[in-house]
């Protein structure tokens, strides 16, 4: 059961040129349960549910891949840099420890 998750890819600065190094942030709405916390009402342990891996792909080439563990905060943010290399798409694939796979992509349009 793949749940629809809100996610966002942000590129800073907004207007960039070919060959420029830009800051890329990926945000996702995710509970990131560690498997240690308790539900305050039912007093039962919430089962672990956290993002396992995140991959940044740019024009089919893997730029960054991350192995994530449960001690990242709720609604995590991943920020890194990227070199713009022509038109294309940046796609972020993220998987869950429960087997959930999602993808988010953004078009890259360098000006000038």
């Amino acid at each position: 059961m793949a749940e629809k998750r809100k996610s966002l890819i942000k590129i800073k600065p907004k207007k960039y040129k070919d060959g420029e190094i830009v800051k890329v942030s990926f945000m996702v709405m995710h509970p990131m349960d560690t498997g240690m916390g308790k539900d305050k009402k039912t007093k039962k342990i919430i089962p672990a549910k956290y993002i396992n891996s995140v991959k940044f792909n740019y024009n089919g080439k893997e730029i960054t891949n991350m192995t994530v563990w449960e001690s990242l905060s709720v609604n995590p943010v991943f920020t890194t840099y990227m070199k713009i290399n022509g038109k294309g798409t940046l796609s972020v694939t993220y998987t869950d420890n429960t087997g959930e796979v999602n993808e988010k992509s953004k078009k890259i349009k360098p000006k000038g």
Partner: protein, 156 residues
């Protein structure tokens, strides 16, 4: 029973209850360990494969000294590297000293990143050290750490 005696007894009961309950609840909370519990030392050994990491000034670890909320602690790791095909940062690992699972995130970078920087937000269970372990392309391991004072724990 006299009124005076009654209040004395009531006081002792209340005192016992006040002392006993927090310790009891703490013991109950500490029990469940995470799905992949790992101590800091085993985590470092698993990453480096037995090699001794070197403390370096190339790494700039940016963590707040006092975190008000342990659930959201921003961490930024900057590594001074040219990021060319011959000389680049292969991986950045962010580790915590006392969390149930010491490993927070392992980031594998490539020269296409252009700059060796990574930033995220982590959870910290209490006052502890946050460590950045960096693997360079020549097989060298660099380490930098900073202690963070956490006012409210963020795990569980």
């Amino acid at each position: 029973m006299q009124r005076r005696d009654f209040f004395k007894k009531l006081g002792t009961v209340a005192a016992i209850a006040a002392v006993a309950t927090p310790t009891f609840s703490f013991a109950a909370e500490a029990k469940p360990t995470g799905p992949n519990a790992m101590s800091f030392k085993t985590a470092v050994d698993a990453i480096t494969g037995g090699k001794a990491p070197k403390t370096s000034t190339l790494i700039k670890l940016k963590v707040p000294e006092i975190a008000e909320n342990g659930a959201v602690v921003p961490v930024t790791v900057n590594v001074d590297s040219p990021m060319t095909a011959d000389d680049y940062v292969k991986a950045i690992h962010i580790l915590s000293g006392k969390n149930s699972n010491a490993r927070c995130i392992d980031v594998n970078l490539t020269p296409a990143n252009g700059k060796a920087m990574f930033s995220t937000r982590i959870k910290l269970g209490g006052t502890q050290e946050v460590t950045a372990l960096v693997e360079m392309s020549n097989g060298q391991f660099l380490i930098a750490s900073q202690s963070v004072k956490v006012t409210i724990g963020g795990c569980g």
